[in-house]
Point group: C2
Chain length 132, copies 2
Amino acid sequence: MDRIPILKMGDVLLVTIQVDMHDRLALTLQDDLTAMIVAHHARGVLIDISSLEMVDSFIGRMLTSIAGMSRLLDAETVVVGMQPSVAITLVELGLKIEGIRTALDVEKGMAALNDAVDHAGPDSDGDRNASN
Amino acid sequence: MDRIPILKMGDVLLVTIQVDMHDRLALTLQDDLTAMIVAHHARGVLIDISSLEMVDSFIGRMLTSIAGMSRLLDAETVVVGMQPSVAITLVELGLKIEGIRTALDVEKGMAALNDAVDHAGPDSDGDRNASN
């Protein structure tokens, strides 16, 4: 397993994390994902973690970095499919996944992304109040 | 890795195969997939194999069975993302993946599915000529 496949669906990229992440795999994912955001002008990234039974601080940091990089490239990140036990563990351990939206499943995540992209729309550079 | 996640997107189910398949995992996937087709009235199944560098007869049979089962449950199967080397090997070894459409990527696969579903539409039981 050298790399995690990234699927393009419209202007959203979908990543399903199924395997244990290790350093190199995480780095490759970051490289591939940022390259694809730029190449395809993606506006959103959906990361499905439904098959993860555990999210430790390494995965947490990886998700946070991906979201940070994507945001710099003007793409929103939504993490979908978190198992209830993962949510419990994250809170109990006090692990923070900062700057990341979550949604229950891919469809809701896609809706959240479309929402975010719509609102950020043409006037996204701080003059959003003007149009409201 | 106990099971491969199945993502629901509208009336299409998306499966990304990233790990080495073994007997039990393949059986679990068949069970989960057929259950989800029935539960969500799915009309199509997309199987992404872009991270597979090799498709042997075991995977070939698994894909064929999944397509057969899905068809019985009134869902079309499209395999997407096959690597060129996999296509070469399949032909050179004479392995047949029967009854399965292929498409280059998820978007094209989704289009092929919509196409198939549209054509099968409301009058799918053999009287299609009547409407043409």
